[in-house]
Amino acid sequence: MGWLDDFWRDTVAAAGIIVSLVGFTIAIYQAWRSRSAAEAVRVAMTQNLTAVDLERAANGIQEIRNLHRRGEWESALYRYRDIQRMLSDVRVRHPNLTSSQRASIQGTIVRLGAIDRRVRETSQTGVNPIESSDDGALLKAQMTLDDLASELKQQV
Protein backbone atom coordinates (compact mmCIF):
# COMPACT_ATOMS: atom_id res chain seq x y z
CA MET A 1 0.00 0.00 0.00
CA GLY A 2 3.03 2.20 -0.47
CA TRP A 3 1.45 3.87 -3.50
CA LEU A 4 -1.53 4.99 -1.32
CA ASP A 5 0.81 6.61 1.20
CA ASP A 6 2.55 8.46 -1.66
CA PHE A 7 -0.82 9.58 -3.06
CA TRP A 8 -1.93 11.07 0.28
CA ARG A 9 1.44 12.64 0.88
CA ASP A 10 1.34 14.35 -2.56
CA THR A 11 -2.27 15.40 -2.04
CA VAL A 12 -1.51 16.96 1.35
CA ALA A 13 1.55 18.71 -0.09
CA ALA A 14 -0.48 20.07 -3.02
CA ALA A 15 -3.27 21.18 -0.69
CA GLY A 16 -0.67 22.88 1.49
CA ILE A 17 0.70 24.80 -1.49
CA ILE A 18 -2.81 25.87 -2.56
CA VAL A 19 -3.68 27.01 0.96
CA SER A 20 -0.40 28.94 1.18
CA LEU A 21 -1.05 30.60 -2.17
CA VAL A 22 -4.59 31.60 -1.16
CA GLY A 23 -3.34 32.92 2.18
CA PHE A 24 -0.57 34.85 0.47
CA THR A 25 -3.06 36.37 -1.99
CA ILE A 26 -5.39 37.39 0.84
CA ALA A 27 -2.46 38.93 2.74
CA ILE A 28 -1.43 40.94 -0.34
CA TYR A 29 -5.02 42.07 -0.89
CA GLN A 30 -5.38 43.17 2.74
CA ALA A 31 -2.07 45.01 2.65
CA TRP A 32 -3.14 46.77 -0.56
CA ARG A 33 -6.50 47.68 1.00
CA SER A 34 -4.96 49.07 4.16
CA ARG A 35 -2.43 51.02 2.10
CA SER A 36 -5.26 52.47 -0.02
CA ALA A 37 -7.15 53.36 3.15
CA ALA A 38 -4.04 54.97 4.67
CA GLU A 39 -3.48 56.90 1.44
CA ALA A 40 -7.12 58.06 1.42
CA VAL A 41 -6.77 59.26 5.03
CA ARG A 42 -3.54 61.06 4.16
CA VAL A 43 -5.16 62.83 1.16
CA ALA A 44 -8.20 63.80 3.25
CA MET A 45 -5.98 65.21 6.01
CA THR A 46 -3.91 67.20 3.49
CA GLN A 47 -7.06 68.63 1.87
CA ASN A 48 -8.37 69.59 5.29
CA LEU A 49 -5.08 71.30 6.25
CA THR A 50 -5.10 73.24 2.97
CA ALA A 51 -8.68 74.36 3.63
CA VAL A 52 -7.72 75.47 7.16
CA ASP A 53 -4.77 77.49 5.80
CA LEU A 54 -7.02 79.17 3.22
CA GLU A 55 -9.60 79.99 5.90
CA ARG A 56 -6.83 81.55 8.01
CA ALA A 57 -5.84 83.74 5.07
CA ALA A 58 -9.51 84.71 4.49
CA ASN A 59 -9.78 85.65 8.20
CA GLY A 60 -6.63 87.73 7.77
CA ILE A 61 -8.31 89.69 4.98
CA GLN A 62 -11.31 90.27 7.26
CA GLU A 63 -8.87 91.65 9.87
CA ILE A 64 -7.44 94.04 7.26
CA ARG A 65 -10.94 95.26 6.41
CA ASN A 66 -11.62 95.86 10.12
CA LEU A 67 -8.32 97.75 10.51
CA HIS A 68 -9.21 99.90 7.48
CA ARG A 69 -12.61 100.71 8.95
CA ARG A 70 -10.94 101.84 12.20
CA GLY A 71 -8.41 103.91 10.23
CA GLU A 72 -5.44 101.85 11.46
CA TRP A 73 -3.61 102.01 8.12
CA GLU A 74 -0.13 101.24 9.40
CA SER A 75 -1.23 98.01 11.09
CA ALA A 76 -3.18 97.02 7.98
CA LEU A 77 -0.16 97.53 5.74
CA TYR A 78 1.85 94.94 7.70
CA ARG A 79 -0.90 92.38 7.26
CA TYR A 80 -0.99 92.55 3.44
CA ARG A 81 2.51 91.14 3.04
CA ASP A 82 1.83 88.48 5.72
CA ILE A 83 -1.20 87.17 3.88
CA GLN A 84 0.55 87.23 0.51
CA ARG A 85 3.37 85.13 2.03
CA MET A 86 0.84 82.83 3.71
CA LEU A 87 -0.92 82.21 0.38
CA SER A 88 2.35 81.66 -1.44
CA ASP A 89 3.30 79.07 1.22
CA VAL A 90 -0.06 77.31 0.80
CA ARG A 91 0.79 76.69 -2.86
CA VAL A 92 4.21 75.29 -1.97
CA ARG A 93 3.08 73.14 0.96
CA HIS A 94 -0.01 71.71 -0.73
CA PRO A 95 0.87 70.17 -4.09
CA ASN A 96 -2.58 68.56 -4.11
CA LEU A 97 -4.11 71.84 -5.29
CA THR A 98 -5.29 71.80 -8.89
CA SER A 99 -3.91 74.16 -11.50
CA SER A 100 -7.11 76.20 -11.41
CA GLN A 101 -7.06 76.44 -7.59
CA ARG A 102 -3.42 77.59 -7.69
CA ALA A 103 -4.31 80.20 -10.32
CA SER A 104 -7.14 81.50 -8.06
CA ILE A 105 -4.66 81.87 -5.19
CA GLN A 106 -2.18 83.61 -7.52
CA GLY A 107 -4.91 86.06 -8.62
CA THR A 108 -5.71 86.82 -4.96
CA ILE A 109 -2.01 87.47 -4.20
CA VAL A 110 -1.80 89.96 -7.11
CA ARG A 111 -5.03 91.72 -6.07
CA LEU A 112 -3.81 92.09 -2.48
CA GLY A 113 -0.54 93.52 -3.82
CA ALA A 114 -2.44 96.08 -5.91
CA ILE A 115 -4.58 97.23 -2.95
CA ASP A 116 -1.49 97.31 -0.71
CA ARG A 117 0.29 99.60 -3.23
CA ARG A 118 -2.73 101.89 -3.50
CA VAL A 119 -3.13 102.18 0.28
CA ARG A 120 0.62 102.85 0.70
CA GLU A 121 0.58 105.58 -1.96
CA THR A 122 -2.55 107.35 -0.74
CA SER A 123 -1.94 106.99 3.02
CA GLN A 124 1.04 109.34 2.66
CA THR A 125 -1.21 112.11 1.37
CA GLY A 126 -3.25 112.15 4.58
CA VAL A 127 -6.43 111.45 2.63
CA ASN A 128 -8.54 108.41 3.56
CA PRO A 129 -6.57 105.82 1.58
CA ILE A 130 -9.27 103.19 1.27
CA GLU A 131 -12.07 103.57 -1.21
CA SER A 132 -15.27 101.57 -1.24
CA SER A 133 -14.00 99.81 -4.39
CA ASP A 134 -10.94 98.64 -2.44
CA ASP A 135 -13.13 97.17 0.29
CA GLY A 136 -15.14 95.48 -2.47
CA ALA A 137 -11.93 94.04 -3.91
CA LEU A 138 -10.87 92.81 -0.46
CA LEU A 139 -14.27 91.24 0.07
CA LYS A 140 -13.96 89.51 -3.32
CA ALA A 141 -10.50 88.16 -2.37
CA GLN A 142 -11.87 86.94 0.96
CA MET A 143 -14.79 85.19 -0.75
CA THR A 144 -12.47 83.55 -3.31
CA LEU A 145 -10.43 81.99 -0.49
CA ASP A 146 -13.54 80.94 1.46
CA ASP A 147 -14.97 79.32 -1.69
CA LEU A 148 -11.71 77.47 -2.32
CA ALA A 149 -11.66 76.23 1.29
CA SER A 150 -15.27 74.99 0.99
CA GLU A 151 -14.45 73.28 -2.31
CA LEU A 152 -11.54 71.42 -0.69
CA LYS A 153 -13.62 70.40 2.33
CA GLN A 154 -16.33 69.02 0.06
CA GLN A 155 -13.75 66.87 -1.71
CA VAL A 156 -12.76 65.23 1.61
Binding site: R91, R102, Q106, G107, V110, R111, G113, I115
Partner: protein
Protein backbone atom coordinates in the same frame (compact mmCIF):
# COMPACT_ATOMS: atom_id res chain seq x y z
CA UNK B 1 14.94 90.00 -27.19
CA UNK B 2 12.58 90.65 -24.29
CA UNK B 3 10.34 92.82 -26.47
CA UNK B 4 10.07 89.96 -28.96
CA UNK B 5 9.05 87.60 -26.16
CA UNK B 6 6.44 90.09 -24.97
CA UNK B 7 5.01 90.30 -28.49
CA UNK B 8 4.91 86.47 -28.59
CA UNK B 9 3.21 86.32 -25.19
CA UNK B 10 0.66 88.98 -26.15
CA UNK B 11 -0.17 87.13 -29.37
CA UNK B 12 -0.58 83.80 -27.59
CA UNK B 13 -2.89 85.46 -25.09
CA UNK B 14 -4.88 87.03 -27.94
CA UNK B 15 -5.25 83.60 -29.52
CA UNK B 16 -6.12 81.78 -26.27
CA UNK B 17 -8.55 84.50 -25.15
CA UNK B 18 -10.24 84.60 -28.55
CA UNK B 19 -10.65 80.82 -28.41
CA UNK B 20 -12.13 81.07 -24.90
CA UNK B 21 -9.32 79.07 -23.29
CA UNK B 22 -8.18 81.92 -21.07
CA UNK B 23 -10.56 83.74 -18.72
CA UNK B 24 -9.77 87.31 -17.65
CA UNK B 25 -11.22 89.03 -14.58
CA UNK B 26 -11.48 92.67 -13.55
CA UNK B 27 -8.40 93.73 -11.57
CA UNK B 28 -8.34 96.20 -8.67
CA UNK B 29 -7.55 99.27 -10.79
CA UNK B 30 -10.17 100.68 -13.10
CA UNK B 31 -9.78 99.63 -16.76
CA UNK B 32 -7.41 96.84 -15.82
CA UNK B 33 -7.91 93.13 -16.46
CA UNK B 34 -6.04 90.21 -14.99
CA UNK B 35 -5.42 86.62 -15.94
CA UNK B 36 -3.69 84.29 -13.48
CA UNK B 37 -1.77 81.07 -13.90
CA UNK B 38 -0.52 78.80 -11.07
CA UNK B 39 2.68 80.81 -10.46
CA UNK B 40 2.27 84.09 -12.36
CA UNK B 41 -0.23 86.64 -13.64
CA UNK B 42 -0.57 89.03 -16.56
CA UNK B 43 -2.56 92.23 -16.63
CA UNK B 44 -3.55 94.63 -19.38
CA UNK B 45 -4.81 98.09 -18.62
CA UNK B 46 -5.73 101.31 -20.36
CA UNK B 47 -4.51 104.12 -18.10
CA UNK B 48 -5.33 106.73 -20.76
CA UNK B 49 -7.06 106.83 -24.10
CA UNK B 50 -4.90 105.05 -26.69
CA UNK B 51 -2.35 103.93 -24.09
CA UNK B 52 -2.05 100.34 -22.96
CA UNK B 53 0.02 98.88 -20.15
CA UNK B 54 0.99 95.21 -20.18
CA UNK B 55 2.36 93.84 -16.90
CA UNK B 56 3.68 90.51 -15.67
CA UNK B 57 3.59 89.49 -11.98
CA UNK B 58 5.57 86.83 -10.16
CA UNK B 59 4.32 84.30 -7.60
CA UNK B 60 4.49 86.88 -4.79
CA UNK B 61 2.33 89.37 -6.71
CA UNK B 62 5.26 91.65 -7.50
CA UNK B 63 5.20 93.35 -10.90
CA UNK B 64 8.35 92.06 -12.58
CA UNK B 65 7.86 93.52 -16.03
CA UNK B 66 5.75 96.26 -17.49
CA UNK B 67 5.58 97.81 -20.92
CA UNK B 68 3.54 100.78 -22.08
CA UNK B 69 4.25 101.42 -25.75
CA UNK B 70 3.18 104.66 -27.38
CA UNK B 71 1.13 104.61 -30.56
CA UNK B 72 3.36 107.25 -32.18
CA UNK B 73 6.58 105.41 -31.27
CA UNK B 74 7.67 103.85 -34.56
CA UNK B 75 9.75 101.21 -32.79
CA UNK B 76 6.76 99.61 -31.11
CA UNK B 77 3.75 99.88 -33.45
CA UNK B 78 3.35 96.10 -33.62
CA UNK B 79 3.23 95.72 -29.85
CA UNK B 80 0.88 98.68 -29.48
CA UNK B 81 -1.56 97.13 -31.98
CA UNK B 82 -1.36 93.74 -30.28
CA UNK B 83 -1.99 95.26 -26.85
CA UNK B 84 -4.99 97.19 -28.12
CA UNK B 85 -6.44 93.96 -29.50
CA UNK B 86 -5.61 92.09 -26.27
CA UNK B 87 -7.21 94.81 -24.15
CA UNK B 88 -10.45 94.59 -26.15
CA UNK B 89 -10.54 90.79 -25.85
CA UNK B 90 -9.66 90.83 -22.13
CA UNK B 91 -12.44 93.33 -21.47
CA UNK B 92 -14.98 91.18 -23.35
CA UNK B 93 -13.79 88.09 -21.45
CA UNK B 94 -13.95 89.76 -18.01
CA UNK B 95 -17.40 91.17 -18.69
CA UNK B 96 -18.69 87.79 -19.97
CA UNK B 97 -19.76 89.49 -23.19
CA UNK B 98 -20.00 86.26 -25.18
CA UNK B 99 -22.21 84.56 -22.58
CA UNK B 100 -24.51 87.60 -22.48
CA UNK B 101 -24.69 87.70 -26.29
CA UNK B 102 -25.50 83.99 -26.45
CA UNK B 103 -28.18 84.40 -23.80
CA UNK B 104 -29.74 87.32 -25.67
CA UNK B 105 -29.71 85.39 -28.94
CA UNK B 106 -31.47 82.45 -27.27
CA UNK B 107 -34.07 84.72 -25.67
CA UNK B 108 -34.76 86.58 -28.89
CA UNK B 109 -34.45 83.49 -31.06
CA UNK B 110 -38.04 83.68 -32.26
CA UNK B 111 -37.77 87.25 -33.51
CA UNK B 112 -36.42 87.85 -37.04
Amino acid sequence: MRDRKVVMLARRLIHQTGAGHVKWTAAVEENEFLVSFPESSVSISQPEHDRYRFSIYNDMGTRVYSVEPLMEDMSTPVLWGDLRKLYELAQLSALNADEILDDLLVRLGGVS
